[in-house]
């Protein structure tokens, strides 16, 4: 592990105790009978210029987390403090023109290249409204900007007059990236940005994202279920389970000294395209519990082989520990014992 180049990193965004609950409504009068606790108390720091990977299985709240930060879902509790050029502000409290300014700083790239572009509009048409909104009114200027953005994602200028159905998945995804870049954002949430692409195209888009990060000094929040991809792109990784972050560390550290039993099982379940490496799989029993009624205590305890009485009643907190000088957060009562092999 190489020593950190700039040890004092600037915190770009500070997520504190963020909760996003969706009401579950039933009956004729739509009474709220419960809540889907999609994001249930997440605290994270995002550093400027880094790629923070958010991984987890479906239903763990990773996508909702991204959308809450962008105000596409409304949060129930908590704060997202962001370092805007003119000072820190809580994104969740912004309104009107202030919120519009925030949208210039934060953008999103979506999963499905086939539904992320409007089929009724040319590529230029998909860019025009956002550009107009942020002050580029003249068509000539707009065209110049779109051409430049397309060039940034290695696409020719004349694509702007064509319709989305003429493009392949990979090309559409690049257009989606270019659209996110159109307002010069600082932070881009990549929500499963390569998951829907063919394997041979995935690599193109991943490399492009890395290139753009260098050129535009971008910060990525890279949300995915694919640990192999996140290992390749992310500087740090946060593992989510049932709306909570269960482990957070530098990428190499996380893969080298995996602490949380869930992360271990997740890693062992991933098929590796290398037949020379055979690993022991840690089988996980059962399914992820419903986020409407998450289990008491540690959310992972019903599937955990190290589960003790304490885990059933007492929810562990995400606490920092250190190993070999690296800060490694984990939320498990028995992390230390498991790491030292004292528990079987």
């Amino acid at each position: 592990m190489q020593p950190d180049k700039n040890p004092v990193r600037e915190v770009l965004m500070k997520i504190e105790n963020l909760k996003t609950y969706f009401p579950v409504k039933k009956g004729v009068f739509k009474r709220t009978v419960g809540h889907v606790k999609a994001v249930d108390g997440v605290s994270l720091d995002v550093f400027r210029g880094e790629t923070l990977g958010i991984v987890g299985e479906s239903g763990c709240g990773k996508t909702t987390l991204g959308k809450t930060i962008l105000r596409l879902c409304s949060a129930s509790e908590g704060s997202v403090k962001y370092q805007f050029p003119d000072g820190e502000q809580d994104i969740l409290q912004l309104k009107g023109t202030e919120l519009d300014r925030a949208r210039k700083s934060l953008q999103i790239v979506f999963q499905d290249p086939y539904s992320s572009l409007n089929p009724a509009f040319t590529i230029f048409g998909s860019f025009a409204d956002p550009l107009r909104k942020f002050g580029v009114k003249k068509r000539k200027e707009q065209e110049e900007i779109v051409a430049k953005l397309l060039a940034d994602v290695n696409l020719p200028r004349d694509y702007m007059t064509r319709y989305p159905n003429e493009f392949s998945g990979g090309q559409r995804q690049r257009i989606g990236i270019a659209r996110a870049l159109s307002v010069n954002p600082e932070l881009i949430v990549c929500d499963e940005a390569v998951s829907a692409l063919d394997v041979s195209i995935q690599a193109q888009v991943l490399k492009l994202l890395k290139k753009l990060q260098n050129e535009h000094n971008l910060t990525y929040l890279f949300i995915t279920h694919d640990l192999s991809v996140v290992e390749y792109v992310a500087d740090r990784i946060a593992v989510m389970y049932l709306g909570k972050v269960v482990e957070l560390a530098e990428t190499d550290e996380l893969f080298k000294h995996t602490l949380h039993p869930y992360t271990k099982a997740l890693l062992s379940a991933i098929p590796i395209a290398d037949i020379t490496r055979k690993r022991k799989r840690i089988p996980l029993q059962g399914d992820v519990p419903s986020p409407v009624n998450p289990p008491a205590g540690c959310p992972f305890h019903p599937r955990c082989k190290y589960c003790t009485d304490r885990c059933r009643t007492d929810a562990p907190l995400l606490t920092p520990g250190t190993s070999e000088g690296q800060i490694h957060y984990v939320s498990c009562h028995h992390a230390q014992e498991i790491a030292e092999g004292r528990m079987e």
Binding site: E57, S58, S168, G170, Q171, D198, V199, S200, I201, Q202, A203, Q204, L206, K207, H225, L227, S228, V229, E231, Y232, V233, A234, D235, T251, D252, F255, A265, L266, L267, S268, A269, I270, P271, I272, A273, D274, I275, T276, R277, R281, P283, L284, G286, D287, V288
Partner: protein
């Protein structure tokens, strides 16, 4: 072509399939040949549109209306002798008898195979009773034991539940239970775990491996994920634009790939554990338009090793020994360059 230690149960030779939708003719499969062996898993791997699902659907005669098998043969070795599946009527009695009883299929989305208005138990019963003359009660008992075998907890209660009450992984188990209802000799699994989480995927694969060994079943697993191939396959066939470009055992294809496409594919995916600084080499360009195919080798326009002959004709199948087949004119040069 392959080792003779295991009996061949299904053999496909020179299969050509065309699609005729949108007033065009799409030559979806060209000269596809492979054989499946009892107690072995054959993985067909390829990107979207390569024809891997078409191959599976051809075996089951589940192709859409405006498409047909142009030439080639699909031969199934039943207990009563050879059956040429390609000559059977699509929905004839013989074909229906084969479907489910001899060859069963599971799909990516279990919801398409399970009827939402009937209980899971009822649907498995139906499957058993349509192929075997057994009483309702015996069928119901079998359903419970099947679900139990598939690792569904509390099967006595869960047979009375509807598909929407099952989780994604459980639904896939229920679908496998249905597929296994008549103990088929061949199981075709078309991306069975693509919609599932990795931990659930691991559970389903565990189950499939168990079934393969216990029932000496031949499994055709269709996937786009090289990792899945490495985990599951005994034999591998790599498809690109309607052709099998390389086939052989998993060791042969994954450890010493001979076709440039296989090699490029393996180099373009991030591999877990190789860290942040692993080198990814994207395949340049995009897959060609199926209506505007390159005249020669389909991969030639994207291939780093393409020579003039590659642009003119499709390379023939070359046997590299021990069943390792490749369709490439320049494979020697490539394996040389790799070393």
């Amino acid at each position: 072509m392959q080792h003779h230690t295991h009996e061949v149960i299904l053999e496909i030779k020179n299969l050509d399939v065309n699609f005729y939708t949108n007033q065009r003719c799409n030559k979806a499969l060209r000269g596809v040949s492979f054989s499946m062996r009892k107690g072995k898993t054959l993985c067909i791997v390829g990107e979207s549109g390569c024809g891997k699902s078409v191959t599976a659907n051809s075996i089951m005669q589940l192709l859409p209306e405006l498409s047909r098998i142009e030439s080639g043969s699909i031969t199934y070795q039943s207990k009563k002798g050879e059956i040429r599946i390609d000559t059977l009527k699509r929905n004839g009695q013989q074909m229906r008898r084969i479907r489910g009883k001899e060859i069963a299929m599971i799909f990516q989305d279990p919801m398409t195979a399970l009827n939402p208005v009937f209980t899971v138990g009822f649907q498995i019963d139906e499957m058993i009773r349509s192929h075997n003359a057994v009483s309702k009660r015996a069928a119901a008992k079998k359903s419970v034991s099947l679900l139990k075998d598939m690792g569904v907890s509390l099967p006595e209660q869960r047979v009375h539940e509807y598909p929407h009450q099952y989780s994604g992984g459980m639904r896939q188990r229920a679908m496998i239970a249905m597929a296994m209802a008549c103990s088929p000799n061949v199981l075709i699994a078309d991306e069975p775990t693509t919609a599932l989480d990795v931990t659930i995927q691991a559970q389903i694969f565990e189950l499939m491996l168990e079934l393969k060994v216990k029932k000496d079943m031949a499994i055709l697993l269709i996937t786009h994920d090289m990792g899945v191939v490495a985990e599951m396959a005994d034999d591998v066939a790599v498809m690109y634009m309607g052709n099998i470009v390389e086939s052989g055992t998993a060791e042969q294809v994954l450890a010493s790939p001979a076709h440039p496409y296989t090699r490029a594919l393996l180099l373009s995916i991030p591999v877990l554990g190789k860290g942040k600084n692993q080198k990814l080499e994207p395949i340049r360009g995009t897959t060609p338009d199926p209506y505007n195919r390159p005249p020669g080798c389909q991969f030639a326009p994207r291939c780093d090793y393409a020579s003039p002959v590659c642009l003119e004709q499709m390379p023939p199948e070359t046997d590299l020994g021990e069943g390792h087949m490749v369709r490439c004119f320049n494979y020697k040069e490539i394996s040389h360059a790799a070393r």
